[in-house]
Amino acid sequence: MTGKYFGQPVLRLEDKHLLTGRAKFCDDIVIPGMLHAAFLRSDYAHAIIKNIDVTEARKHPGVVAVYTAEDMGDYWKLGPLQVPPPFAIKGAQFNARTLPPIAKGKVRFSGEPIAVVIAESRYIAEDACEDIIFDAEPLPAVIDLEKAWEDTSVLVHDDLPSNMAALVKQESGDYEAAKKQADVVVSHRYVADHVAGAAMENRGFVVNWDERTQEMTVWAGTQAPLPLRSAIAGRMGLVENQVRVITPYIGGGFGPKVMTSQADDVLLPWISMKLNRPIKWIEDRRENFLATTSERDQVHHCEMALKNDGTILGFKDIFYHNTGAYDPYGMTVPLNTQTHTVSNYRVPNFYTEIRMVFTNEMVVTPVRGAGRSEGVFVMERMMDLAARELKMDPVEIRLKNLLKKEEFPLNTGVIGQDFVVGVLDSGDYKNNLEKCIQMIDYEKFRNEIQPKARKEGKHLGIGVVTFTEGTAVGPYEGARVTVGNNGKVSVATGYSTQGQGHFTVFAQIVAEQLNVKVEDVRVITGDTGHFHWGAGTFASRGATIAGSAINSAAVLVREKIFATAAKLLDVPEDQVELCEGSVCVKGHPEKSVSLGDLAGKANPMRGAVEADVKPGLEATAYYAPPHGATGSGACAMIVDVDPETCKVNIERFVLVHDCGTVINPLLLEGQIQGGVSMGIGNAFYEKMVYDENGQLMTASFMDYLMPQATDMPKRMEIGHNVHPSPLNTLGLKGVGEAGALPPPPAFCQAVEDALYEYDLDLTESNLNPSLLYKFKNEATKR
């Protein structure tokens, strides 16, 4: 589906301001009289707080106030459960332990805030943090996921009998019975390690309580402006229209910015009101690593039962998921993992169990790929294991088991992060894979390139995997479309944007419906003063959920344009049409009225207006899907491994993707490429490492390796399949996280294939040269 604007590679409208340094980010906001906040954070991962002496800090010149939990009185309350547990899953157990605004009694992870200093400048605030004497009695830290689950473990929350945060079992068919029928059963343990969202802009929060208007304005780099607005209003005892949350330009989200109960969210509005002064807090990189949320970190124990011909009979997965010290975001991440292990292959019998554990580490919430990445990793690794056991080609075993397009819509039997049973809506998974191996020339590589390279002593290997991406989940999003008196169109949505290009794609949707120029559509995202309903940016849902709402609103406006114009031009409604920027009578272009004039007519200032007519050329609409739309794809890479240094070069990279209808092919490529770079980063560069005492050893870009330009494959060859989703009018599915999912398992498979002389068994999703070297040394030489 392509139109004049929809489906076209329209250049981004937001670029000009970003490219010239004129775009306003959170730290660019300056308010007269503004104070600055700095947090003192715990050095200990687990300790009993004995005393926090802030006397000297309060005396520090330039310091206005210092607060600890003790100073907060009744305002100190445990944070909200931002995402509740899925009540739809029978027998699901969940222990809610939400975030304290600031530590009281005990610290549970290194980096947990223990005091906040408000000063005339950030430099002074940080100086004064050093004047605070924090006396604590260290306790042993809970770090190892499997040990944490045991009854003998030290407890993160003393009031719980164990470190169990959640226990969820989901099954379909009868795995144990299927196992008895199987010709082979393979089993293995896999680790999907901890990674950071690491947006280039850290978090930021500016708040201004205006005592005279009794209104609070917050500028925050948040993915969830409306939940944040409601949370602040609730905590402060204000009604919603007293709090306005504005998202300025945001330097990347990737998940962690969805939180609404971090220390800054809770404390700074309260302090701003107390001091009657505006306050700014800008997170630094170390704080971002230590205390903003991160993700992955699971240990899986998998088992797969198969027939000799490679047909899967059943799959079993018991996995430990680290939720960190608290679990304010419910079970979103491990539920995503559960959904994605059994979503692209036919698995008639399965049993999957989440064991979510509390540890003395930072809180775990979604990061691009959220849970899906781990699910895809273990399932793809199990397919490789099975292929090896059955001496089958990795592609062959996948083709045998992939779901067929005729099977859709298909009920997966697993309740996901949106609390409804997953339904795979559409796609052609087999064709994704076939197209992928064709693009990378799989046969030629196997039969010519690889044998020749091996003769020359080169270690080339290929990896081919498939994946699905559950996207575009509910609950809903909404938007309002208005034609202005100058004929330009404004769009307001509660959805917030962090660089995805929403200002452009949303404008394309509206421009198509109203036949106006794309640059004449001005989009406002994430400003609760402009639109006050919405859930937030997560689960690759922007283009689909907010986009569908915007499309519906634009359709309503178009209808209103036709009705109003027909009346004005005195012709039947079916006789008018949209010319660019105006409405004219079909066949009589001279009989027309501009959209601007029509907008004025639709809002008469005098005279009688019919009772049920709403003013203006304006409409508001919402979109709520019955369940998520599922994107799909396949990925292949060819690697060149140096067995001595274990350096790996990705020689070729192919990804075939199906996200339904494409709104903007240029931006779609950008989304996929960005996701892929994160996936490659996860596969071979990035890893958050905690030592046994709960100290984060990788709290800077010196130790946490972000993929750089020279780490990327020369070209990401991207193929598209388009199977529109039947769930929404436009046929959209999400794509934001797709690229991040397949690289780790494809990388492992390719490296194993390259180092063919070794019986290499890569069981971790986050490798690096030294870890690969270790795996290689532990492997037996064939």
Binding site: A23, Q498, M702, Q708, A709, M712
Partner: protein, 160 residues
């Protein structure tokens, strides 16, 4: 209050005289003293490259330099390139090739590429990759940044 030091710095052809604390970072000076917010701070330890500016024509990380060290020197920031109405050819190329997403790292990348293209007007893809290797971008996967720089080199050498 720490002792203040008088400095005179030329930024984007304007001379600024200010009294600053010796420990004030050049990045903070540019942003918060001069109000030139186009220079972004991503890590404050010299690794991400978002705060890259030109210091006497050389690309440097303004978070690793104190404002007092800039005394008597000439600085250029992203604001010295084009305006939204009249983009610099390099900025045009980034728009046309979708070389940015969130745009936070972009000013640092532009300020790294400007002197690079002056020195090497017809770079190969590998040379571009090397040139921007010290600038971290989380959004794009770099491919379209490289295409943007290639397109810019063509634009700039053909004088468009």
């Amino acid at each position: 209050m720490a002792q203040l030091i008088k400095i005179k710095v030329t930024v984007n052809d304007t001379v600024y005289e200010r009294e600053v604390e010796p420990r004030l970072l050049l990045s903070d000076f540019i942003r918060h003293e001069l109000g030139l917010f186009g220079t972004h701070v991503g890590c404050e330890h010299g690794m991400c490259g978002a705060c890259t500016i030109l210091f006497d024509g050389e690309p440097v990380r303004s978070c690793l330099i104190f404002a007092v060290q800039a005394n008597g020197h000439e600085i250029k920031t992203v604001e010295s390139l084009g305006t939204p109405e009249h983009l610099h050819p390099l900025q045009e190329a980034f728009n046309e090739k979708h070389g940015l997403q969130c745009g936070f790292c972009t000013p640092g990348i532009l300020m790294t590429v400007v002197p690079f293209l002056e020195e090497n007007p017809h770079p190969s893809e590998d040379e571009i990759r090397e040139a921007i290797d010290g600038n971290i971008c989380r959004c794009t996967g770099y491919e379209k940044i490289i295409e943007s720089v290639q397109a810019a080199s063509e634009k700039m050498s053909s004088g468009k």
